[in-house]
Amino acid sequence: MIEVNALTKYYGMTRAIYDLSFTIEKGRIAGFLGLNGAGKSTALKILAGYLLPTSGSVRVAGTDLVAQPDAMRSRIGYLPEKPPLYDEMTVDGYLKYLGKLRGMDAATLARRVPEVIEQTALQGKGRQRIGTLSLGFRKRVGIAQAIVHDPDLLILDEPISGLDPVQIVEMRNLVRSLGGKHTILISSHILTEVEETCDQLLVLDDGELKAQGTEAELLARFSHSLNFDLTVQGDPEAAAEVIAATPLVTEVRTGRFTDGYATFGLSLSKDEPAELVAALVAAGVGVHRLEPARGALENAFLSMTGRGGAA
């Protein structure tokens, strides 16, 4: 679907990104993960057809960015970190203008604009001037303009920046709802956001791609943490006894009890949690969930980028 090969960009003598190569399959949500200044926005601007690369190639559904820029741009929707909005226009007028600019005819737009308004939960805002909208709605209008022409690839640069917690949840749900139909590439420096939303992660640091894969693959490769969160159902004391009797467990850090569930933070001496699960099941304790402790992706990220050791 998206094939990026040896993509490099210099701003004058300054290297912004170097030798990026990756592929994203159709319908997947991929996340560009990196610190501020890692080169995420530059990479996205190139993929959106805004900037041209110094070298390398980008193909979207077989269309090459440099050889057929117009054909490629019509297949892409792009929301930069600051939505590109004309404050004096109404939401409807703005979406129609950009739809026409991207080659849509009036009849298609008459059908498509209400669809997009509904999809992005902008009902009732169509005739409102964009300059009077709150940041959350402005971001929604930004997404609406990016999908109005039904692009194959949707690029969202820091879509949750500046949003409050409620708006973040709404934006996350909106992005998830767009996955499947559109291939989506999101950039963020907030690890939990990418973790929550994306199927595939691309870790960028100092302009280079340090790692790529699913969250589980990256954790398996880069997280050397042996910290786990265990949630059990039933008698928490029985569970605590089994845990204490299992030599594999070196430390029990926390214990929380809510609604019949007990959660323990554990450290293991080796990466073989199945041994613990077997002991719990044998003792009749219901294992509800066993997962790497929160913060595992952060640790893996630090390991990938060489900025710190494992927790």
């Binding site: 057809g49 019509s74 590109p84 600019l101």
Partner: protein, 241 residues
């Protein structure tokens, strides 16, 4: 062509919806009218053709101002607000962006030029006006407006600040206006070049008196094209930054 008209239409409706556009036109119209009243409609006796020449003389100056003031923000505003992204990521060429922006601003300059028509009408009511003189003078204003708007579009593409765009555009037009002065202080062939470049003395003045030359069309056409080409090159270069 559709994309050019679409961009022009959006920009034009922005001018019609903004107080600034009307304010610029109103101030320029009042200033033109006052100078015209002072020079051509006062107590002293003037032939209609002389009064008309005065009108085109002032009209030329204020059309230059209108062209620069109305185009100085066409790209600078988009660059500052980051809305330029919508143009760069659309399936359109840099030429379409430039022509659309130029046409939008020029459309509003045409509104200004159109609103000056009451002045020659007043001369016609009070005296005798030759149609050819009016046509020639207005062609001069239209071509001056096109050139100044193109220069403003070019200077606007260079910067995020519309005021800087306006100053650069004003200086460029100013250089064309004063090149007759430079021509008088240089030897051929330099003086010939500066004489040809002189915007008012060599090209507009005769048109304001009712005389048309082919060289004027070539002059305005080529300089307008060069300014627009400059804007197109700057926009293209921004993709490579």
């Amino acid at each position: 062509m559709k994309a050019i008209l679409l961009i022009a239409k959006r920009d034009l409706s922005e001018y019609f919806g903004s107080l600034l556009g009307y304010a610029i036109i109103a101030v320029l119209l009042v200033a033109t009218g006052m100078l015209f009243q002072y020079a051509a409609m006062g107590d002293r006796a003037l032939k209609s053709s002389q009064a008309l020449s005065y009108f085109f003389y002032f009209g030329f100056g204020f059309t230059c101002f209108a062209g620069i003031l109305l185009s100085m923000g066409v790209f600078a505003r988009e660059l500052r607000e980051d809305t330029i992204v919508t143009l760069y990521t659309a399936p359109i060429s840099e030429w379409q962006m430039v022509l659309g922006k130029w046409l939008g601003a020029y459309g509003f300059v045409l509104v200004f030029i159109g609103l000056t028509a009451y002045m020659p009408l007043m001369i016609a009511v009070n005296g005798q006006v030759h149609g050819g003189h009016v046509l020639s003078g207005y062609l001069g204003l239209l071509m001056t407006g096109a050139l100044c708007t193109a220069v403003g579009t070019f200077s606007s593409s260079l910067t995020h600040h519309q005021l800087v765009g306006g100053i650069v555009g004003g200086v460029l037009i100013g250089l064309l206006v004063v090149s007759w002065w430079v021509a008088g202080r240089t030897e051929p062939p330099l003086s010939d070049i500066f004489t040809y470049l002189s915007l008012y003395q060599t090209h507009v003045e005769d048109m304001g008196k009712g005389t048309l030359h082919t060289r004027d069309f070539v002059y305005f056409g080529s300089l307008t094209f060069l300014a627009l080409l400059g804007a197109r090159v700057v926009l293209g270069a921004r993709r490579w930054r």
